[in-house]
Subunit: 309 residues, 2 copies
Protein backbone atom coordinates (compact mmCIF):
# COMPACT_ATOMS: atom_id res chain seq x y z
CA UNK A 1 0.00 0.00 0.00
CA UNK A 2 1.43 3.31 -1.05
CA UNK A 3 1.00 6.20 1.33
CA UNK A 4 1.68 9.38 -0.55
CA UNK A 5 3.60 11.94 1.38
CA UNK A 6 3.72 15.71 0.94
CA UNK A 7 6.33 18.16 2.08
CA UNK A 8 7.51 18.02 5.66
CA UNK A 9 9.66 16.03 8.03
CA UNK A 10 10.00 12.40 7.08
CA UNK A 11 12.46 11.06 9.58
CA UNK A 12 10.93 10.97 13.02
CA UNK A 13 7.90 10.97 15.31
CA UNK A 14 4.85 13.21 15.16
CA UNK A 15 2.37 13.98 17.91
CA UNK A 16 -1.27 14.70 17.14
CA UNK A 17 -3.98 16.11 19.43
CA UNK A 18 -7.66 16.12 18.52
CA UNK A 19 -9.64 18.67 20.54
CA UNK A 20 -13.25 17.52 20.96
CA UNK A 21 -16.17 18.61 23.12
CA UNK A 22 -15.70 15.65 25.46
CA UNK A 23 -12.19 14.32 24.92
CA UNK A 24 -8.74 15.37 23.90
CA UNK A 25 -7.49 12.44 21.84
CA UNK A 26 -3.80 11.89 21.27
CA UNK A 27 -1.83 9.90 18.71
CA UNK A 28 1.86 9.34 18.16
CA UNK A 29 2.98 8.26 14.71
CA UNK A 30 6.32 7.47 13.19
CA UNK A 31 7.47 8.02 9.64
CA UNK A 32 8.84 4.87 8.09
CA UNK A 33 9.69 3.94 4.49
CA UNK A 34 8.05 7.06 3.09
CA UNK A 35 4.81 6.26 4.93
CA UNK A 36 3.52 6.43 8.48
CA UNK A 37 2.62 4.00 11.21
CA UNK A 38 0.77 4.71 14.42
CA UNK A 39 2.61 3.93 17.67
CA UNK A 40 -0.21 4.59 20.13
CA UNK A 41 -3.42 6.52 20.71
CA UNK A 42 -5.29 7.49 23.88
CA UNK A 43 -7.73 10.06 25.25
CA UNK A 44 -8.44 12.26 28.27
CA UNK A 45 -11.08 14.79 29.35
CA UNK A 46 -11.26 18.09 27.51
CA UNK A 47 -12.66 19.97 30.50
CA UNK A 48 -14.66 22.02 28.00
CA UNK A 49 -16.94 23.51 30.66
CA UNK A 50 -13.91 25.39 32.03
CA UNK A 51 -13.72 27.50 28.85
CA UNK A 52 -10.73 28.38 26.65
CA UNK A 53 -8.15 28.90 29.44
CA UNK A 54 -8.79 25.52 31.05
CA UNK A 55 -8.97 23.73 27.71
CA UNK A 56 -5.70 25.33 26.56
CA UNK A 57 -4.03 24.24 29.78
CA UNK A 58 -5.29 20.69 29.31
CA UNK A 59 -4.09 20.65 25.69
CA UNK A 60 -0.66 21.91 26.72
CA UNK A 61 -0.43 19.33 29.49
CA UNK A 62 -1.52 16.53 27.14
CA UNK A 63 1.23 17.50 24.68
CA UNK A 64 3.98 18.29 27.21
CA UNK A 65 3.66 14.90 28.92
CA UNK A 66 4.55 13.17 25.66
CA UNK A 67 7.10 15.68 24.39
CA UNK A 68 9.09 15.68 27.64
CA UNK A 69 9.50 11.94 27.37
CA UNK A 70 10.60 11.72 23.77
CA UNK A 71 13.09 14.05 22.11
CA UNK A 72 12.59 12.35 18.74
CA UNK A 73 9.17 13.97 18.29
CA UNK A 74 9.70 16.65 15.68
CA UNK A 75 6.21 18.05 15.06
CA UNK A 76 2.93 18.73 16.88
CA UNK A 77 -0.39 18.85 15.03
CA UNK A 78 -3.70 19.95 16.58
CA UNK A 79 -7.16 19.21 15.20
CA UNK A 80 -9.83 21.71 16.26
CA UNK A 81 -13.63 21.54 16.09
CA UNK A 82 -14.31 24.66 14.05
CA UNK A 83 -12.83 27.62 12.25
CA UNK A 84 -9.52 29.35 12.90
CA UNK A 85 -7.32 31.93 11.24
CA UNK A 86 -4.41 30.03 9.72
CA UNK A 87 -2.19 33.13 9.79
CA UNK A 88 -2.66 34.09 13.43
CA UNK A 89 -3.66 30.73 14.88
CA UNK A 90 -6.60 32.41 16.62
CA UNK A 91 -9.92 30.62 16.92
CA UNK A 92 -12.85 32.09 14.97
CA UNK A 93 -15.71 29.76 15.87
CA UNK A 94 -16.05 26.59 17.89
CA UNK A 95 -19.79 26.02 17.55
CA UNK A 96 -19.95 23.17 20.06
CA UNK A 97 -17.56 24.27 22.83
CA UNK A 98 -18.77 26.56 25.64
CA UNK A 99 -16.96 29.80 26.40
CA UNK A 100 -15.63 32.86 24.56
CA UNK A 101 -13.46 31.16 21.94
CA UNK A 102 -13.67 33.86 19.29
CA UNK A 103 -10.17 35.36 18.99
CA UNK A 104 -8.59 32.99 21.51
CA UNK A 105 -4.90 32.51 20.57
CA UNK A 106 -4.79 28.74 21.01
CA UNK A 107 -1.79 28.19 18.76
CA UNK A 108 0.28 30.94 20.43
CA UNK A 109 -0.52 29.59 23.88
CA UNK A 110 0.54 26.10 22.93
CA UNK A 111 3.66 27.20 21.07
CA UNK A 112 4.84 29.41 23.97
CA UNK A 113 4.27 26.74 26.58
CA UNK A 114 5.69 23.87 24.54
CA UNK A 115 8.60 25.75 22.97
CA UNK A 116 7.88 24.45 19.49
CA UNK A 117 5.67 25.17 16.52
CA UNK A 118 2.14 23.77 16.36
CA UNK A 119 0.25 23.06 13.13
CA UNK A 120 -3.54 23.53 13.35
CA UNK A 121 -6.11 21.81 11.17
CA UNK A 122 -9.90 21.56 11.17
CA UNK A 123 -10.93 18.26 12.78
CA UNK A 124 -12.92 16.97 9.79
CA UNK A 125 -9.96 17.71 7.55
CA UNK A 126 -7.69 15.86 10.02
CA UNK A 127 -10.10 12.90 9.82
CA UNK A 128 -9.93 13.10 6.01
CA UNK A 129 -6.14 13.22 5.96
CA UNK A 130 -5.87 10.15 8.18
CA UNK A 131 -8.50 8.09 6.37
CA UNK A 132 -7.18 9.22 2.99
CA UNK A 133 -3.54 8.40 3.70
CA UNK A 134 -3.55 5.45 6.09
CA UNK A 135 -7.23 4.50 6.42
CA UNK A 136 -10.12 3.48 4.19
CA UNK A 137 -9.00 5.73 1.32
CA UNK A 138 -5.34 4.81 1.17
CA UNK A 139 -4.09 4.56 -2.40
CA UNK A 140 -7.26 6.04 -3.96
CA UNK A 141 -7.16 8.76 -6.63
CA UNK A 142 -9.96 10.91 -5.24
CA UNK A 143 -11.64 10.47 -1.84
CA UNK A 144 -14.59 12.32 -0.31
CA UNK A 145 -14.99 12.12 3.48
CA UNK A 146 -17.99 13.00 5.60
CA UNK A 147 -18.21 13.01 9.40
CA UNK A 148 -21.71 12.68 10.79
CA UNK A 149 -22.44 13.83 14.32
CA UNK A 150 -23.36 17.01 16.16
CA UNK A 151 -22.31 18.79 12.96
CA UNK A 152 -21.50 17.53 9.49
CA UNK A 153 -17.84 17.82 8.57
CA UNK A 154 -16.11 16.99 5.33
CA UNK A 155 -12.89 16.80 3.41
CA UNK A 156 -11.43 15.92 0.03
CA UNK A 157 -8.24 14.04 -0.85
CA UNK A 158 -6.93 14.17 -4.39
CA UNK A 159 -4.00 11.94 -5.34
CA UNK A 160 -2.84 11.64 -1.75
CA UNK A 161 -3.10 15.35 -0.95
CA UNK A 162 -5.68 17.12 1.16
CA UNK A 163 -7.55 19.74 -0.87
CA UNK A 164 -7.83 22.92 1.20
CA UNK A 165 -8.52 25.39 -1.61
CA UNK A 166 -7.24 28.91 -2.09
CA UNK A 167 -8.00 30.02 1.50
CA UNK A 168 -7.23 26.87 3.48
CA UNK A 169 -10.87 26.19 4.36
CA UNK A 170 -12.23 24.01 1.55
CA UNK A 171 -14.05 20.73 2.24
CA UNK A 172 -17.26 22.02 3.84
CA UNK A 173 -19.41 19.37 2.20
CA UNK A 174 -22.02 19.68 4.97
CA UNK A 175 -22.60 23.29 3.99
CA UNK A 176 -23.84 22.66 0.48
CA UNK A 177 -27.36 23.97 -0.02
CA UNK A 178 -29.60 20.96 -0.62
CA UNK A 179 -33.02 22.59 -0.05
CA UNK A 180 -32.90 26.27 -1.14
CA UNK A 181 -35.64 27.26 1.33
CA UNK A 182 -34.82 24.64 3.93
CA UNK A 183 -34.14 25.00 7.66
CA UNK A 184 -31.70 27.58 9.02
CA UNK A 185 -28.16 26.26 9.50
CA UNK A 186 -25.73 27.20 12.26
CA UNK A 187 -23.60 28.85 9.56
CA UNK A 188 -26.37 31.33 8.73
CA UNK A 189 -27.45 29.78 5.42
CA UNK A 190 -30.75 28.05 4.71
CA UNK A 191 -31.07 24.44 3.62
CA UNK A 192 -27.48 23.27 4.13
CA UNK A 193 -26.97 19.53 4.36
CA UNK A 194 -26.05 19.96 8.05
CA UNK A 195 -29.41 20.94 9.60
CA UNK A 196 -31.12 18.32 7.40
CA UNK A 197 -28.87 15.44 8.46
CA UNK A 198 -27.12 16.16 11.78
CA UNK A 199 -27.72 13.92 14.81
CA UNK A 200 -30.25 16.32 16.36
CA UNK A 201 -32.28 16.46 13.13
CA UNK A 202 -32.43 12.68 12.95
CA UNK A 203 -33.52 12.39 16.59
CA UNK A 204 -36.20 15.04 16.16
CA UNK A 205 -37.58 13.44 13.01
CA UNK A 206 -37.88 10.11 14.81
CA UNK A 207 -39.23 11.58 18.06
CA UNK A 208 -36.31 10.18 20.08
CA UNK A 209 -33.77 11.83 22.39
CA UNK A 210 -30.60 10.81 20.54
CA UNK A 211 -29.44 9.40 17.22
CA UNK A 212 -28.33 6.23 19.03
CA UNK A 213 -31.90 5.68 20.24
CA UNK A 214 -33.17 6.13 16.71
CA UNK A 215 -30.86 3.41 15.41
CA UNK A 216 -31.80 1.08 18.28
CA UNK A 217 -35.50 1.62 17.66
CA UNK A 218 -35.04 1.18 13.90
CA UNK A 219 -33.18 -2.10 14.44
CA UNK A 220 -36.15 -3.22 16.55
CA UNK A 221 -38.45 -2.35 13.64
CA UNK A 222 -39.83 1.05 14.70
CA UNK A 223 -41.34 2.54 11.54
CA UNK A 224 -40.99 6.19 12.45
CA UNK A 225 -37.29 5.68 13.18
CA UNK A 226 -36.80 3.81 9.92
CA UNK A 227 -38.55 6.60 8.01
CA UNK A 228 -36.39 9.22 9.75
CA UNK A 229 -33.20 7.36 8.79
CA UNK A 230 -34.48 7.05 5.24
CA UNK A 231 -35.07 10.80 5.04
CA UNK A 232 -31.67 11.71 6.49
CA UNK A 233 -30.00 9.19 4.17
CA UNK A 234 -31.84 10.73 1.21
CA UNK A 235 -30.35 14.15 1.96
CA UNK A 236 -26.91 12.69 2.63
CA UNK A 237 -27.27 10.83 -0.66
CA UNK A 238 -28.09 14.03 -2.53
CA UNK A 239 -25.10 15.86 -1.07
CA UNK A 240 -22.80 12.94 -1.83
CA UNK A 241 -24.27 12.49 -5.31
CA UNK A 242 -23.31 16.13 -5.91
CA UNK A 243 -19.77 15.35 -4.81
CA UNK A 244 -19.68 12.37 -7.17
CA UNK A 245 -20.81 14.49 -10.16
CA UNK A 246 -18.35 17.25 -9.33
CA UNK A 247 -15.32 15.37 -7.97
CA UNK A 248 -15.56 11.81 -9.34
CA UNK A 249 -14.24 10.06 -6.20
CA UNK A 250 -13.56 6.34 -6.24
CA UNK A 251 -14.34 6.07 -2.53
CA UNK A 252 -16.66 7.91 -0.13
CA UNK A 253 -15.79 7.47 3.54
CA UNK A 254 -18.36 8.05 6.27
CA UNK A 255 -17.26 8.60 9.87
CA UNK A 256 -18.45 10.12 13.12
CA UNK A 257 -20.97 8.94 15.67
CA UNK A 258 -23.94 8.47 13.35
CA UNK A 259 -21.90 6.25 11.06
CA UNK A 260 -22.08 3.52 13.73
CA UNK A 261 -25.48 2.76 12.21
CA UNK A 262 -23.59 1.14 9.33
CA UNK A 263 -25.72 -0.44 6.61
CA UNK A 264 -28.94 1.02 8.02
CA UNK A 265 -27.63 4.37 6.75
CA UNK A 266 -25.15 3.36 4.05
CA UNK A 267 -27.62 1.31 2.03
CA UNK A 268 -29.99 4.23 1.35
CA UNK A 269 -27.03 6.58 0.75
CA UNK A 270 -25.66 4.25 -1.94
CA UNK A 271 -29.10 4.02 -3.51
CA UNK A 272 -29.50 7.80 -3.61
CA UNK A 273 -26.07 8.25 -5.21
CA UNK A 274 -26.87 5.64 -7.88
CA UNK A 275 -30.26 7.16 -8.62
CA UNK A 276 -29.00 10.72 -8.89
CA UNK A 277 -25.78 10.32 -10.84
CA UNK A 278 -25.75 8.99 -14.39
CA UNK A 279 -22.68 10.72 -15.84
CA UNK A 280 -20.13 9.03 -13.56
CA UNK A 281 -19.76 5.22 -13.30
CA UNK A 282 -21.28 4.98 -9.81
CA UNK A 283 -21.05 1.17 -9.82
CA UNK A 284 -17.30 1.63 -9.35
CA UNK A 285 -17.68 3.96 -6.35
CA UNK A 286 -17.50 2.46 -2.87
CA UNK A 287 -19.37 4.07 0.03
CA UNK A 288 -17.69 2.74 3.18
CA UNK A 289 -17.42 3.36 6.90
CA UNK A 290 -14.17 4.88 8.19
CA UNK A 291 -11.39 2.42 9.03
CA UNK A 292 -9.50 4.19 11.82
CA UNK A 293 -12.24 4.46 14.44
CA UNK A 294 -12.38 7.26 16.96
CA UNK A 295 -8.63 7.98 16.72
CA UNK A 296 -8.79 9.11 13.10
CA UNK A 297 -8.84 12.79 14.11
CA UNK A 298 -5.77 12.52 16.34
CA UNK A 299 -3.90 10.47 13.74
CA UNK A 300 -4.82 13.06 11.13
CA UNK A 301 -3.62 15.88 13.37
CA UNK A 302 -0.29 14.08 13.76
CA UNK A 303 -0.11 13.62 9.97
CA UNK A 304 -0.96 17.30 9.46
CA UNK A 305 1.93 18.29 11.73
CA UNK A 306 4.25 16.10 9.68
CA UNK A 307 2.98 17.02 6.20
CA UNK A 308 1.75 20.61 6.70
CA UNK A 309 -0.93 20.23 4.01
CA UNK B 1 2.58 34.77 -15.24
CA UNK B 2 3.31 31.16 -14.50
CA UNK B 3 1.49 28.59 -16.56
CA UNK B 4 1.81 25.26 -14.87
CA UNK B 5 2.41 22.39 -17.19
CA UNK B 6 1.68 18.71 -16.70
CA UNK B 7 3.17 15.73 -18.41
CA UNK B 8 3.39 15.78 -22.19
CA UNK B 9 5.26 17.26 -25.08
CA UNK B 10 6.73 20.67 -24.38
CA UNK B 11 8.74 21.47 -27.44
CA UNK B 12 6.46 22.15 -30.38
CA UNK B 13 3.05 22.99 -31.81
CA UNK B 14 -0.30 21.56 -30.81
CA UNK B 15 -3.52 21.52 -32.81
CA UNK B 16 -6.90 21.67 -31.06
CA UNK B 17 -10.37 21.02 -32.52
CA UNK B 18 -13.58 21.87 -30.70
CA UNK B 19 -16.57 19.95 -32.03
CA UNK B 20 -19.76 21.98 -31.54
CA UNK B 21 -23.32 21.71 -32.82
CA UNK B 22 -22.79 24.53 -35.32
CA UNK B 23 -19.03 24.95 -35.75
CA UNK B 24 -15.79 23.06 -35.63
CA UNK B 25 -13.37 25.52 -34.08
CA UNK B 26 -9.64 25.14 -34.49
CA UNK B 27 -6.66 26.50 -32.61
CA UNK B 28 -2.94 26.12 -33.06
CA UNK B 29 -0.73 26.79 -30.06
CA UNK B 30 2.99 26.69 -29.48
CA UNK B 31 4.84 25.77 -26.33
CA UNK B 32 7.29 28.42 -25.28
CA UNK B 33 9.27 28.98 -22.07
CA UNK B 34 7.30 26.30 -20.21
CA UNK B 35 4.01 27.99 -21.16
CA UNK B 36 1.84 28.24 -24.25
CA UNK B 37 0.89 30.90 -26.72
CA UNK B 38 -1.84 30.77 -29.32
CA UNK B 39 -0.79 31.18 -32.96
CA UNK B 40 -4.23 31.32 -34.59
CA UNK B 41 -7.85 30.23 -34.23
CA UNK B 42 -10.66 29.84 -36.77
CA UNK B 43 -13.91 28.00 -37.38
CA UNK B 44 -15.90 26.15 -40.04
CA UNK B 45 -19.26 24.36 -40.31
CA UNK B 46 -19.75 21.15 -38.37
CA UNK B 47 -22.28 19.74 -40.81
CA UNK B 48 -23.99 18.18 -37.82
CA UNK B 49 -27.18 17.37 -39.75
CA UNK B 50 -25.18 14.84 -41.78
CA UNK B 51 -24.69 12.65 -38.71
CA UNK B 52 -21.53 11.00 -37.34
CA UNK B 53 -19.98 9.95 -40.66
CA UNK B 54 -20.17 13.43 -42.16
CA UNK B 55 -19.03 15.12 -38.96
CA UNK B 56 -16.07 12.73 -38.63
CA UNK B 57 -15.08 13.47 -42.23
CA UNK B 58 -15.27 17.21 -41.57
CA UNK B 59 -13.20 16.86 -38.40
CA UNK B 60 -10.55 14.82 -40.24
CA UNK B 61 -10.44 17.35 -43.05
CA UNK B 62 -10.16 20.25 -40.60
CA UNK B 63 -7.20 18.57 -38.92
CA UNK B 64 -5.48 17.21 -42.04
CA UNK B 65 -5.40 20.61 -43.70
CA UNK B 66 -3.29 21.98 -40.87
CA UNK B 67 -1.19 18.89 -40.22
CA UNK B 68 -0.17 18.49 -43.87
CA UNK B 69 1.19 22.02 -43.86
CA UNK B 70 3.19 21.86 -40.67
CA UNK B 71 5.38 18.94 -39.62
CA UNK B 72 6.22 20.62 -36.30
CA UNK B 73 2.72 19.86 -34.93
CA UNK B 74 3.25 17.06 -32.47
CA UNK B 75 -0.19 16.52 -30.89
CA UNK B 76 -3.88 16.73 -31.77
CA UNK B 77 -6.54 17.36 -29.12
CA UNK B 78 -10.29 17.14 -29.70
CA UNK B 79 -12.99 18.68 -27.49
CA UNK B 80 -16.35 16.93 -27.75
CA UNK B 81 -19.82 18.02 -26.61
CA UNK B 82 -20.67 15.10 -24.37
CA UNK B 83 -19.54 11.82 -22.90
CA UNK B 84 -17.05 9.36 -24.32
CA UNK B 85 -15.19 6.25 -23.21
CA UNK B 86 -11.61 7.35 -22.56
CA UNK B 87 -10.32 3.80 -23.10
CA UNK B 88 -11.94 3.08 -26.45
CA UNK B 89 -12.42 6.64 -27.70
CA UNK B 90 -16.03 5.79 -28.56
CA UNK B 91 -18.78 8.34 -28.06
CA UNK B 92 -21.36 7.57 -25.38
CA UNK B 93 -23.71 10.54 -25.55
CA UNK B 94 -23.79 13.77 -27.56
CA UNK B 95 -27.07 15.22 -26.25
CA UNK B 96 -27.16 18.10 -28.74
CA UNK B 97 -25.92 16.55 -31.99
CA UNK B 98 -28.33 14.72 -34.33
CA UNK B 99 -27.64 11.13 -35.40
CA UNK B 100 -26.65 7.80 -33.86
CA UNK B 101 -23.53 8.84 -31.97
CA UNK B 102 -23.69 6.19 -29.25
CA UNK B 103 -20.72 3.87 -29.82
CA UNK B 104 -19.31 5.86 -32.75
CA UNK B 105 -15.51 5.39 -32.82
CA UNK B 106 -14.59 9.03 -33.42
CA UNK B 107 -11.07 8.76 -32.04
CA UNK B 108 -10.23 5.65 -34.09
CA UNK B 109 -11.56 7.24 -37.26
CA UNK B 110 -9.48 10.34 -36.74
CA UNK B 111 -6.33 8.45 -35.73
CA UNK B 112 -6.50 6.13 -38.75
CA UNK B 113 -7.09 8.93 -41.21
CA UNK B 114 -4.52 11.31 -39.71
CA UNK B 115 -1.87 8.75 -38.91
CA UNK B 116 -1.30 10.07 -35.41
CA UNK B 117 -2.78 9.82 -31.95
CA UNK B 118 -5.70 12.02 -30.91
CA UNK B 119 -6.47 13.07 -27.31
CA UNK B 120 -10.17 13.54 -26.52
CA UNK B 121 -11.60 15.76 -23.80
CA UNK B 122 -15.08 16.95 -22.84
CA UNK B 123 -15.65 20.43 -24.25
CA UNK B 124 -16.43 22.08 -20.90
CA UNK B 125 -13.25 20.59 -19.45
CA UNK B 126 -11.32 21.90 -22.49
CA UNK B 127 -12.80 25.34 -21.78
CA UNK B 128 -11.70 24.98 -18.15
CA UNK B 129 -8.19 23.94 -19.07
CA UNK B 130 -7.76 26.93 -21.39
CA UNK B 131 -9.26 29.51 -19.02
CA UNK B 132 -7.41 27.97 -16.08
CA UNK B 133 -3.99 27.91 -17.72
CA UNK B 134 -3.91 30.84 -20.14
CA UNK B 135 -7.21 32.68 -19.53
CA UNK B 136 -9.08 34.29 -16.65
CA UNK B 137 -7.83 31.76 -14.10
CA UNK B 138 -4.14 31.76 -14.95
CA UNK B 139 -1.99 31.58 -11.82
CA UNK B 140 -4.90 30.86 -9.45
CA UNK B 141 -4.76 28.12 -6.80
CA UNK B 142 -8.27 26.76 -7.34
CA UNK B 143 -10.62 27.70 -10.20
CA UNK B 144 -14.22 26.67 -10.84
CA UNK B 145 -15.54 27.09 -14.39
CA UNK B 146 -19.11 27.03 -15.64
CA UNK B 147 -20.30 27.19 -19.24
CA UNK B 148 -23.86 28.40 -19.67
CA UNK B 149 -25.74 27.60 -22.84
CA UNK B 150 -27.86 24.79 -24.28
CA UNK B 151 -26.47 22.71 -21.42
CA UNK B 152 -24.51 23.61 -18.30
CA UNK B 153 -20.91 22.41 -18.37
CA UNK B 154 -18.24 22.69 -15.75
CA UNK B 155 -14.69 22.03 -14.73
CA UNK B 156 -12.22 22.43 -11.88
CA UNK B 157 -8.56 23.44 -11.94
CA UNK B 158 -6.44 22.89 -8.85
CA UNK B 159 -2.92 24.30 -8.77
CA UNK B 160 -2.69 24.42 -12.54
CA UNK B 161 -4.05 20.92 -13.11
CA UNK B 162 -7.45 19.90 -14.44
CA UNK B 163 -9.29 17.75 -11.90
CA UNK B 164 -10.87 14.81 -13.73
CA UNK B 165 -11.37 12.49 -10.75
CA UNK B 166 -10.90 8.75 -10.50
CA UNK B 167 -12.83 7.98 -13.71
CA UNK B 168 -11.85 10.90 -15.94
CA UNK B 169 -15.32 12.47 -15.86
CA UNK B 170 -15.33 14.83 -12.87
CA UNK B 171 -16.42 18.46 -13.15
CA UNK B 172 -20.15 18.06 -13.84
CA UNK B 173 -21.08 21.09 -11.78
CA UNK B 174 -24.32 21.51 -13.74
CA UNK B 175 -25.49 18.13 -12.53
CA UNK B 176 -25.57 18.92 -8.84
CA UNK B 177 -29.04 18.48 -7.39
CA UNK B 178 -30.26 21.93 -6.33
CA UNK B 179 -33.99 21.19 -5.94
CA UNK B 180 -34.48 17.57 -4.78
CA UNK B 181 -37.93 17.34 -6.41
CA UNK B 182 -37.19 19.79 -9.23
CA UNK B 183 -37.62 19.38 -12.99
CA UNK B 184 -36.33 16.33 -14.84
CA UNK B 185 -32.83 16.76 -16.27
CA UNK B 186 -31.53 15.35 -19.55
CA UNK B 187 -29.22 13.15 -17.45
CA UNK B 188 -32.19 11.37 -15.84
CA UNK B 189 -31.96 13.04 -12.42
CA UNK B 190 -34.43 15.50 -10.93
CA UNK B 191 -33.56 19.06 -9.91
CA UNK B 192 -30.07 19.34 -11.39
CA UNK B 193 -28.75 22.85 -11.87
CA UNK B 194 -28.96 22.33 -15.65
CA UNK B 195 -32.74 22.24 -16.23
CA UNK B 196 -33.13 25.12 -13.75
CA UNK B 197 -30.61 27.40 -15.47
CA UNK B 198 -30.00 26.38 -19.10
CA UNK B 199 -30.83 28.80 -21.94
CA UNK B 200 -34.18 27.14 -22.69
CA UNK B 201 -35.28 27.37 -19.04
CA UNK B 202 -34.46 31.08 -18.94
CA UNK B 203 -36.36 31.74 -22.18
CA UNK B 204 -39.39 29.80 -20.98
CA UNK B 205 -39.47 31.59 -17.61
CA UNK B 206 -39.39 34.94 -19.38
CA UNK B 207 -41.87 33.94 -22.09
CA UNK B 208 -39.35 34.65 -24.87
CA UNK B 209 -37.98 32.53 -27.72
CA UNK B 210 -34.29 32.68 -26.79
CA UNK B 211 -31.98 33.66 -23.95
CA UNK B 212 -30.67 36.53 -26.11
CA UNK B 213 -34.18 37.95 -26.35
CA UNK B 214 -34.55 37.71 -22.60
CA UNK B 215 -31.40 39.76 -22.03
CA UNK B 216 -32.46 42.33 -24.62
CA UNK B 217 -35.89 42.68 -23.03
CA UNK B 218 -34.36 42.90 -19.56
CA UNK B 219 -31.98 45.64 -20.66
CA UNK B 220 -35.04 47.51 -21.95
CA UNK B 221 -36.62 47.14 -18.51
CA UNK B 222 -39.02 44.20 -19.04
CA UNK B 223 -39.96 43.02 -15.57
CA UNK B 224 -40.75 39.41 -16.41
CA UNK B 225 -37.36 39.06 -18.11
CA UNK B 226 -35.59 40.64 -15.14
CA UNK B 227 -37.39 38.29 -12.76
CA UNK B 228 -36.48 35.29 -14.91
CA UNK B 229 -32.80 36.29 -14.90
CA UNK B 230 -32.98 36.78 -11.14
CA UNK B 231 -34.38 33.27 -10.66
CA UNK B 232 -31.80 31.63 -12.93
CA UNK B 233 -29.03 33.59 -11.22
CA UNK B 234 -30.33 32.44 -7.84
CA UNK B 235 -29.96 28.80 -8.84
CA UNK B 236 -26.57 29.41 -10.44
CA UNK B 237 -25.60 31.19 -7.22
CA UNK B 238 -26.65 28.22 -5.11
CA UNK B 239 -24.70 25.78 -7.24
CA UNK B 240 -21.64 28.02 -7.21
CA UNK B 241 -21.97 28.69 -3.48
CA UNK B 242 -21.82 24.91 -3.04
CA UNK B 243 -18.61 24.85 -5.05
CA UNK B 244 -17.20 27.64 -2.89
CA UNK B 245 -17.96 25.76 0.34
CA UNK B 246 -16.55 22.51 -1.00
CA UNK B 247 -13.62 23.64 -3.16
CA UNK B 248 -12.63 27.11 -1.90
CA UNK B 249 -11.80 28.60 -5.32
CA UNK B 250 -10.27 32.04 -5.59
CA UNK B 251 -11.90 32.59 -8.97
CA UNK B 252 -15.13 31.46 -10.62
CA UNK B 253 -15.17 31.79 -14.40
CA UNK B 254 -18.42 31.94 -16.35
CA UNK B 255 -18.46 31.26 -20.08
CA UNK B 256 -20.79 30.17 -22.86
CA UNK B 257 -23.53 32.03 -24.70
CA UNK B 258 -25.60 33.11 -21.70
CA UNK B 259 -22.54 34.69 -20.09
CA UNK B 260 -22.76 37.48 -22.71
CA UNK B 261 -25.36 38.99 -20.38
CA UNK B 262 -22.45 40.04 -18.14
CA UNK B 263 -23.34 41.97 -15.01
CA UNK B 264 -27.06 41.38 -15.48
CA UNK B 265 -26.33 37.79 -14.49
CA UNK B 266 -23.05 38.07 -12.57
CA UNK B 267 -24.35 40.58 -10.03
CA UNK B 268 -27.09 38.31 -8.67
CA UNK B 269 -24.72 35.30 -8.78
CA UNK B 270 -22.17 37.14 -6.63
CA UNK B 271 -24.92 38.14 -4.22
CA UNK B 272 -26.18 34.56 -3.90
CA UNK B 273 -22.67 33.26 -3.24
CA UNK B 274 -22.09 35.88 -0.52
CA UNK B 275 -25.44 35.20 1.13
CA UNK B 276 -25.07 31.43 1.16
CA UNK B 277 -21.43 30.98 2.18
CA UNK B 278 -20.16 32.15 5.56
CA UNK B 279 -17.33 29.68 6.21
CA UNK B 280 -15.14 30.79 3.30
CA UNK B 281 -13.93 34.39 2.80
CA UNK B 282 -16.21 35.10 -0.17
CA UNK B 283 -15.08 38.72 -0.35
CA UNK B 284 -11.81 37.38 -1.76
CA UNK B 285 -13.51 35.33 -4.48
CA UNK B 286 -13.88 36.85 -7.93
CA UNK B 287 -16.77 35.84 -10.19
CA UNK B 288 -15.71 36.84 -13.71
CA UNK B 289 -16.58 36.27 -17.35
CA UNK B 290 -14.25 34.06 -19.40
CA UNK B 291 -11.28 35.78 -21.03
CA UNK B 292 -10.66 33.71 -24.15
CA UNK B 293 -13.96 34.19 -25.95
CA UNK B 294 -15.42 31.58 -28.27
CA UNK B 295 -12.05 29.98 -28.99
CA UNK B 296 -11.51 28.79 -25.41
CA UNK B 297 -12.72 25.27 -26.24
CA UNK B 298 -10.37 24.86 -29.22
CA UNK B 299 -7.44 26.31 -27.26
CA UNK B 300 -8.25 23.93 -24.41
CA UNK B 301 -8.40 20.98 -26.78
CA UNK B 302 -4.95 21.93 -28.07
CA UNK B 303 -3.68 22.21 -24.49
CA UNK B 304 -5.23 18.84 -23.66
CA UNK B 305 -3.38 17.23 -26.55
CA UNK B 306 -0.14 18.74 -25.26
CA UNK B 307 -0.65 18.04 -21.56
CA UNK B 308 -2.82 14.88 -21.59
CA UNK B 309 -4.50 15.80 -18.30
Amino acid sequence: MERSVGKGDLSSRHLGLDLGGTNIKRALIESADGGYQDLWTDKRDTGAEGGPEVVARNMIHAAAEVLDDDVSISTVGVGVPGLFDANTGQIKLFPNLPGAWNGFPLRDRMESALGRSVWMINDARAFTLAEGLIGAGAGCHTVVCLTLGTGIGGGIMIEGRLHLGAFGVAGEIGHQTIEPDGPLCGCGNRGCMEPLTQAAALAELAGRATAEEVFEAATAGDERSLAAIQQVARYLGIGLANMVAVLGPERIIIGGGISDAGELLLGPIREAVRERVTLVPTEKIEVVVAALGSSAGALGAALAGAIKP
